[in-house]
Symmetry: C2
Subunit: 263 residues, 2 copies
């Protein structure tokens, strides 16, 4: 079973199913989106769309109505293809413990989603996630997926790993493997059993290559589509790993085990 | 003719030839190195090696004796395989106009190298490259290859593009396509005919995909080996481009034309 463990809603939805078929991907863990770079025409439109994305990644923008709309859109797309998709529900940043519990109940568990994310704390904001970790610990069994590429700094990633240490029953998926801080992240992750490494946004093949070697049971294939092609993301890992058993785990087995999916 | 337009000396040298054969790469533009991540064993050794690399990239470290040794090593490896390799010679940062001319004469032209780089200005240091641009304009026909991923900022890349505008006869290769600033870099590059975009270190396939579409005659395939696998770097471009003519130019034609290589 090949599972793309992180991709965003793309338009039109049929196109995503085509991309999965082309890459021989059985299932995709689907995340909401508030921007659609894949539908833009020309550089100018793309720039407008990506600027909105960067405002979200920088914690400048967190529009509630658009977030709820994106969750409804996700629930609809997952519901239309329950064999192809598993949903992860997004959550506003900086809620209190009770607000987090309420949101998770209504928008995550209520929609049958299996995890929470993509979380995009701005730099310096990670400690505010303590209330969310407490709520997730209370609910149980929902992995948290956190973006750790630009604009996050090493201090932010360290703060996130500290939270993972404090809440050992909360699985934390480190999105994009720590970005430019992949080696520090990998070294720290070895000592924190509830930390998983997402292998998308690879700018050097040294990073996924070493991550898989060091943590074959906690590294997760993902495309981060539409930001990368599912076919190419999968091919990269197929060319990095010669051990077929390990490759199977990274391409699907590890995330299936984490989410307790039926085999 | 498939040409990997940017890779570093790897040890043992035979391994590089094997990687080229595996990827069906005919020639590689080879650059010096002062670090060898490919020979490390384990995460700790790799960390030591990469920390040295980051000190060089941050402009903290610029050891003259090691640089000269690396140039001699490069000349030796290129000389041993003149059909496989073309050399680009590195240069210390911040030399005067006359010192630049002297260095280029002795270590670049003197070794039969065909370009200059990899230049790694620290953030804020790009304007110091004016004397180098003047010297290269004087010598003629030597492209400058500049690293523009982390730790360079958008202001640094803008300063570099300003220099490219001021010296229109100096070809400037923007290494790694501007990194996280790839879209701004691409938009600016469209208006500066002497700017070329290196397609290595791709963390999102949107970047090379759009770069090739917008600048099919000024985008250059490269692996940046040992930081990425030549086979994977080539495969990524093959999967992004459906136009065979464009693909041929990007995979070798464009750099061959820039360096006036015999067909």
């Amino acid at each position: 079973m090949i599972i793309d463990s992180h991709a965003h809603v793309m338009l039109p939805p049929e196109r995503h199913i085509e991309l999965m078929a082309e890459a021989h991907i059985d299932q995709t863990i689907l995340f909401t989106t508030m921007v659609h770079p894949e539908t833009t025409k020309g550089l100018k439109e793309l720039e407008t769309e990506l600027n909105q994305l960067y405002e979200i990644l920088n914690g400048v923008r967190d529009p509630l109505r658009e977030r709820i709309h994106a969750l409804e859109e996700l629930a609809q797309i997952v519901g239309a293809n329950p064999d192809k998709y598993i949903g992860f529900g997004s959550i506003p940043f900086g809620l209190s413990y009770k607000e987090n519990l309420g949101w998770i109940e209504k928008y995550v568990v209520g929609n049958g989603f299996r995890g929470i994310g993509e979380l995009t704390p701005g730099t310096g904001q990670v400690p505010q996630m303590d209330a969310l970790f407490r709520a997730v610990q209370e609910v149980g069994s929902l992995p948290l997926w956190v973006h750790t590429f630009f604009p996050l700094k090493l201090e932010d990633i360290k703060a996130l790993l500290d939270l993972a240490r404090q809440y050992p029953t909360v699985p934390v998926i480190i999105g994009h493997l720590g970005g430019i801080h992949w080696l520090d992240t990998l070294q720290a992750a070895k000592e924190i059993p509830n930390v998983y490494l997402d292998l998308s946004a690879t700018f050097t093949t040294l990073a996924p290559s070493l991550a898989i070697r060091e943590l074959p049971e906690r590294t997760l294939f993902s495309s981060d589509a539409p930001y990368a092609s599912p076919l190419i993301a999968k091919m990269i890992l197929e060319h990095l790993t010669t051990d077929n058993y390990v490759l199977e785990q990274v391409l699907g087995g590890n995330i299936a085990k984490l989410l307790q999916l039926a085999g």
